[in-house]
Symmetry: C2
Subunit: 227 residues, 2 copies
DNA sequence: ACCTATAATTTTGTATACAAAAGTCTATTG
DNA sequence: CAATAGACTTTTGTATACAAAATTATAGGT
């Protein structure tokens, strides 16, 4: 294991979760791929027990599917899944940020602005892609920080997908920035209705763009296969 | 363990989950109460491992809270929790039933009608309470049966609380029946908008009644304590 | 008597060991 | 050669054993 640097997460299971989640989200593990407990145990230098527990956690997050006596596979994602995920996020995340708004401190808002600026000035390359993902996650995390509705927050977190999106959404970089700025300004004005609208718009547009990109990818693949 | 009658659920963990869940929902286990792994292991005649896994599952369902190195307690529920749970169910379950409607077969609808009738003719007593809970669960389950949005369905399932509600909501029995009938008739007419409205109304009313009942319980308690 | 430090106990976390199920391969038969 | 029964291998499920953390109890000092 990556040397149990237990500062925030005190158990092995958490480290394992982080590791496997990372590999799923950055695409190292392809969808449908099998996760064999013993392989991972050896790879991370732990016993199978923490792996098992990590897998059931990831199942809750929807990243893997577990069948009794058969094991875990990486959850495959279809267009209908994207449709579902973003429509749910539209409902839930809009609610979450609206509810959280009154609990945002001035420092939070300042930080949010800084993250926004940093994203805007970041030139997109292969190296900065990861950095951008992190900033984007941070941006959304700040908005959720002290949400008084923990279940809603958990649901939004579990809907995932966001971390893979940035890579695919490069062409719509400009658009995304505009959305983020609109969200930021709604927060600045402490305007819950506008914040909700801005978030809903952002997620709906992202969904449509993602679907478009994936459609194009599929078209490409089919063309090559039919040659 | 209760003699592994493995027909539907093939693993011990599932049995353990069912057992602990039952005890939480029927109130045997009070909120905040600690669940000690070894105690349960001995009680159910299994090792601690299935207990651990069951607990992490129940954590996902929101029935228990787990802190590293400290263990699991039964999740305490406040009025704000009820507010959250039912508002979320209002959004999510309305969506779920609307999406599921086209996939309901004629047999499903017939069955739904039978369950409805059975609930209507059931006289509420202490013994039938459990029966009623089951019928109520079945009623909702049929509506969700083949929901094309699995995440939304899972979220609704995980929001729980429904199984404790019937006991507390006895005074509003009539009202609940009317709601169910309205939902049933919307299904019969295959009218998604009306179905959504009926479900939203049902959940909002249930929320308000639950809050009222709990408020009364608290008033009672405070009165007794202050004597 | 009260607080603090430390020892003893309890409880959780992880590793290892064994049992059961699923999957794979091979050999035999039609 | 195809199909299938049965041995063999792999992989998951559960039990037991040990390590680490947290909790409780105890003893000593002020």
């Amino acid at each position: 294991m990556v040397k149990q640097n237990n500062k925030s997460h005190s158990t092995t299971v958490h480290e394992v979760i982080k590791e496997i989640r990372k590999e799923i989200l950055n695409g190292t593990l392809k969808e449908g791929e099998r996760l064999i407990q013993d392989e991972w145990a050896q790879r991370l230098n732990v016993s199978r027990m923490p792996i098992r527990e990590a897998l059931t956690h990831l199942e809750m997050e929807g990243l893997v599917e577990i069948k009794p006596h058969k094991g875990a596979i990486v959850t495959p994602i279809t267009q209908e899944d994207i449709e579902e995920i973003f429509n749910l996020r539209c409902m839930l995340e809009a609610t979450v940020v609206e509810k959280s708004l009154p609990y945002l401190t001035e420092e939070d808002v300042t930080l949010l602005g800084e993250v926004l600026i940093e994203m805007e000035t970041l030139k997109l390359t292969d190296e900065t892609n990861d950095k951008y993902s992190k900033l984007n996650a941070k941006f959304h995390a700040i908005l959720h920080k002290d949400c008084p509705w923990p279940r809603a927050k958990k649901f939004v977190d579990n809907l995932g997908i966001s971390p893979i999106a940035p890579k695919l959404l490069e062409p719509y970089y400009e658009k995304t920035q505009q959305d983020h700025r609109r969200i930021y300004e709604a927060v600045l004005r402490r305007d819950p209705q506008e914040l909700r609208l801005a978030m809903e718009y952002h997620l709906t547009r992202t969904k449509n763009n993602l679907l478009k990109v994936i459609q194009q990818m599929n078209d490409e693949k089919n063309k090559n296969e039919s040659i």
